[in-house]
C-alpha cells in the first residue's frame, strides 16, 4: 500500500496563514488566541520537519483578518490525506483546533454575508 504524499507546499501555506493569524491576535489574551497559538506551534513544527522546496505564497495574506486566515488554513488542512496521521501526530489536534477557532470567531462576528 502506497504511503500518502506529504503536502509540503500546503503545510507551508498553513504555516504562513497561522503565523499571520498569530501576529494579528498577538494583543488578544483570550482562549481563541491561545488556540491559534497552539495551532501555529503545531504547523511551525510541521513546516520545519517537512520543508517545501518552493516558497509558500498565499495571495492577499496581508489583507486577511484572523478569521480569514483560520478559514483558509482549515480548508488546506482538510484537503490533506487522513492517512498522514501516522507521520503527523498532531494532525487531528490541528484540525480540531482550527475548527474550534473558526466556530468561536464565527460566533463572535455573527454570520458572514
Amino acid at each position: 500500500m502506497n504511503r500518502a504524499l506529504m503536502p509540503t507546499e500546503s503545510i507551508g501555506k498553513v504555516d504562513l496563514l497561522l503565523g499571520h493569524a498569530t501576529m494579528l491576535t498577538g494583543d488578544r489574551w483570550d482562549d481563541v488566541a491561545s488556540m491559534i497559538h497552539e495551532a501555529m506551534g503545531i504547523t511551525l513544527l510541521m513546516a520545519t520537519t517537512h520543508p517545501s522546496n518552493r516558497p509558500a505564497d498565499v495571495p492577499g495574506v496581508a489583507r486577511l483578518d484572523a478569521q480569514g486566515c483560520v478559514e483558509q488554513a482549515l480548508r488546506e488542512v482538510q484537503s490533506w490525506d487522513l492517512a498522514l496521521a501516522a507521520d503527523l501526530p498532531d494532525l487531528a489536534r490541528l484540525r480540531v483546533l482550527l475548527a474550534d477557532v473558526r466556530t468561536a470567531l464565527d460566533a463572535a462576528d455573527g454570520p458572514r454575508g
Binding site: 497559538h37 497552539e38 513546516a47 520543508p51 516558497p55 505564497d57 482549515l74 487522513l82
Partner: protein, 612 residues
C-alpha cells in the same frame, strides 16, 4: 481508503444546511460502532485500546440519566464512510496496520471532540472527554507531555542554536511567534495568580503591562517580515527543526498536573523565556527596553521568591513532608519559619551553625540520590530507607538547597552594591549560589565553611561579570572592577574546596559586622565613608557634604579607624578572628579607591569648600 471519511469530516464543518438528527447521542453511538468495526478489522482489540475506551465512555454518556436529546448535524454520512473503510480492511491485503491504527485514532479523536463540544449536558460531556483524552494520549504516546521547565529549556537551547543565522527572516519570525506564545502563557498565569492573590497586585500589574507591551513590539516586528520571502531563506534545516520543536513545546497545552505557581516560577526563573535575548534576536528597537523591564521584574522575583505563593498548599505531600521534618528536629532553626517547597524556610541571612549545615548537606545528598535511585537496587546512602519515602527525600533535598542559598543571600547584595547593572549580576549570582549549594562538601577534611565557600563563589562570579543579556563576559582589565586584594588565590580556582584563600574571609560574616559598625558611627563620619565606599572621589564627597576635600579625606580615615577598632574588638570578644587576618572587600576597595583618588587631588583642591 480514508478519502471518503475526510470528505465527510469536511462536510460536517462546512455544510451550511446539513441534514439533521434529533438525537446526537444515538447517532454518535452508531458512529462509535463503526469505529470499533474498523479497529477490529485491523487487529485484536485489547481492553486498554483507546477506541475501546471511547466506546466505554460513549456508553457512559448515552446512559447518563435525564439527558435530553440534542439536535445537530447527522453523522450518517460519516458512518457510511467509516463502514466503507472497515470493509476495505476486511478484504484488503498489504495493510500497514500500525499506520492505519494511528489514522483511526486521529479520526476518532476528531469526531469525539466534535460531538463533545455539541453536547450540552455536563455529565455526558465528562464521559466524552474521558474518551477523547484516552485517544489524545494514544496519539501523543510517542512524544510525551513536557513540563514547562522542559519546554523552556528547549526554547533556550533553540535560541542558542539560531544565533549564527539570526538575520534570516524565517528565524526572526519563528522566534517572535514562539515568544508570543510564551508571553500569552505567562499573561494567563499572572492574571490567574493576581486573581487568586498568589501574587501581589502591583507586581502582577507591572508584569502584565510589560508583557502586553512586549507582545505589541513582537507584532510590529512580525508585520515587517514579508511572508513571501520566508521560503527563500537558506537556513540549516536542523537549526529550524530545533526551533520548531521548541515552539511546539512552548505552545503545547499546559500539563494540568503542574500547579500554577510551579509553572509561573519556571517562567520567571527563565526571565520569561529569555525576553532580552529574544528582543536582541528579533531586532525590533521597541522590544529591548520592555524586555529589560520584564527581566528586572523577574529578578525581583528571584530575590524574593516568597512573593509568589502556592494557590493551594493545603494537604500537599511536600508540606506533609516538611511537617515531619519539623517534628523531628525541634532545635533546627529552619523550624522557626513556615515553609513550602523551594521557598526558604529560614529568614534570609540566617547564620547557620555547623551542624545545621551538615544536616542540610545530608538532606541535599539524600534528595539528589533519591531522585535517580533504583528501588530494586538502592544506592548505599538510601539502604534501609523505604522507597516510598524517597519522593519526600527529594523534596527535603530541594528545600535544603534553598535554605543554604537563603542563608547567604545578603552576600549577593553586599557584592553588588553600587555596581552598574547590579540587577543582572545578581541574577547570575543567584544561579552561581544554587550551583555552589549543590557542590559544597561539608564533610571534606579541611573544607571551608558554607558561608566562606559561598562568598568565594560570589567573588568569582563578580570578577567574571555578566553583560546586559545575562551572558558571562570575557575577563578584561578595561571594564572589570579592582580585584579584592585580600584573597590570594595562588593559582587555585576560587570555587575550589581548598581552604587557604577562604580562611581569610571566613570569620567575617563581614557585611553584617561592618554594617553594624557603620551604623554606630556618627553621621559626620559615616556619610563620607559611605560615599568613599561607593567609589566617589574626595572632590565629589566634599561637594556633596559641604566641606573641603582634605576634611573629607580626614573623616574617611577617621571613620575607617573607628570601624577597624570595632571589628578588632569584636574579634577579641571571640566573635571572629583578629582583624589583622580579616579584611573586607568592600572596606578594602574603599581604602584602595580613596588612596588612588584622594592623594593626587589633595594638592589641587585644598581650599575648596568650608573647612570644618
Amino acid at each position: 481508503m480514508w478519502d471518503t471519511v475526510r470528505r465527510e469530516l469536511a462536510r460536517l464543518q462546512w455544510d451550511a444546511a446539513p441534514p439533521l438528527t434529533l438525537d446526537l447521542m444515538s447517532d454518535w453511538t452508531r458512529t462509535v460502532q463503526c469505529l470499533m468495526a474498523i479497529r477490529r478489522a485491523l487487529a485484536p482489540v485489547p481492553a486498554h485500546d483507546p477506541v475501546a475506551l471511547l466506546a466505554t465512555a460513549t456508553t457512559g454518556a448515552a446512559r447518563t440519566p435525564g439527558v435530553t436529546p440534542t439536535m445537530s448535524p447527522t453523522l450518517h454520512g460519516v458512518d457510511a464512510a467509516l463502514a466503507g473503510v472497515a470493509r476495505g480492511f476486511e478484504v484488503g491485503s498489504g495493510i500497514d496496520r500500525r499506520r492505519e491504527v494511528a489514522t483511526l485514532n486521529q479520526v476518532a479523536y476528531e469526531l469525539a471532540h466534535w460531538v463533545r463540544v455539541r453536547t450540552p449536558d455536563d455529565r455526558a460531556k465528562a464521559w466524552l472527554l474521558a474518551g477523547e483524552t484516552a485517544l489524545d494520549s494514544a496519539v501523543h504516546a510517542t512524544r510525551g507531555r513536557s513540563a514547562v521547565g522542559v519546554g523552556l529549556a528547549a526554547w533556550q537551547d533553540a535560541l542558542a542554536a539560531v544565533q549564527p543565522v539570526q538575520d534570516a527572516a524565517i528565524v526572526r519570525r519563528s522566534v517572535a511567534l514562539g515568544h508570543l506564545a510564551i508571553l500569552r502563557n505567562t499573561h494567563d498565569l499572572v492574571g490567574e495568580a493576581r486573581e487568586t492573590e498568589a501574587l501581589h497586585q502591583p507586581y502582577a500589574d507591572a508584569l502584565l503591562g510589560n508583557i502586553r507591551d512586549l507582545a505589541g513590539a513582537h507584532q510590529t516586528a512580525l508585520s515587517r517580515i514579508d511572508g513571501r520571502q520566508l521560503g527563500s531563506s537558506r537556513v540549516d534545516q536542523a537549526v529550524m527543526l530545533r526551533l520548531g520543536v521548541a515552539v511546539r513545546h512552548v505552545t503545547d497545552r499546559p500539563d494540568a498536573a503542574e500547579p500554577l505557581h510551579v509553572r509561573l516560577d519556571a517562567l520567571l526563573r527563565s526571565s520569561i523565556g529569555e525576553a532580552v535575548l529574544v528582543a536582541n534576536l528579533i531586532q525590533e528597537p521597541s522590544a529591548k527596553p520592555v524586555a529589560d523591564a520584564l527581566s528586572r521584574l523577574a529578578l525581583e522575583y528571584l530575590a524574593n521568591p516568597r512573593m509568589l505563593r502556592p494557590a493551594d498548599p493545603v494537604g500537599s505531600p511536600h508540606l506533609d513532608a516538611l511537617g515531619d521534618r519539623r517534628s523531628a528536629s525541634v532545635t533546627d532553626p529552619r523550624t522557626e519559619a513556615p515553609a513550602s517547597p523551594e521557598e526558604p524556610s529560614i529568614r534570609l541571612g540566617t547564620v547557620l551553625a555547623g551542624d545545621t549545615v551538615l544536616a542540610l548537606c545530608r538532606a541535599r545528598d539524600l534528595g539528589v540520590v533519591a531522585a535517580s535511585g533504583d528501588a530494586a537496587n538502592p544506592p548505599g546512602i538510601l539502604r534501609g530507607i523505604d522507597p516510598s519515602r524517597w519522593p519526600q527525600l527529594v523534596g527535603e533535598g530541594r528545600q535544603a538547597v534553598t535554605d543554604l542559598v537563603a542563608s547567604v543571600i545578603p552576600m549577593v547584595y553586599a557584592q553588588t552594591r553600587g555596581i552598574p547593572n547590579a540587577a543582572d549580576l545578581r541574577g547570575q549570582m543567584f544561579v552561581e549560589l544554587m550551583g555552589a549549594a549543590y557542590r559544597f562538601d561539608a564533610q571534606r577534611p579541611g573544607s571551608a565553611r558554607w558561608s566562606t565557600y559561598a562568598w568565594t563563589t560570589l567573588e568569582h562570579s563578580r570578577w567574571r561579570g555578566v553583560d546586559d543579556a545575562g551572558v558571562v563576559r570575557t575577563r578584561s582589565h578595561h571594564h572589570s572592577r579592582p580585584r579584592p586584594t585580600n584573597v590570594n588565590l595562588e593559582g587555585r580556582e576560587p570555587v575550589s574546596r581548598e581552604s587557604d584563600p577562604v580562611d581569610i574571609i571566613e570569620e567575617r560574616q563581614a557585611v553584617e559586622a561592618i554594617t553594624q559598625a557603620l551604623g554606630r558611627l556618627p553621621a559626620s563620619l559615616r556619610d563620607p565613608l559611605l560615599e568613599a565606599m561607593q567609589g566617589h572621589p574626595a572632590r565629589v564627597i566634599a561637594e556633596d557634604l559641604g566641606f573641603s576635600a582634605s576634611t573629607a579625606l580626614r573623616r574617611v580615615h577617621e571613620a575607617r579607624d573607628h570601624v577597624r577598632g570595632e571589628l578588632a574588638a569584636r574579634a577579641d570578644d571571640g566573635a571572629g578572628v583578629p582583624y589583622e587576618t580579616v579584611t573586607d572587600p568592600v572596606l578594602e576597595r574603599s581604602q584602595r579607591m580613596s588612596e588612588q583618588t584622594f592623594a593626587p587631588s589633595l594638592g589641587t583642591e585644598p581650599g575648596r569648600g568650608p573647612d570644618r
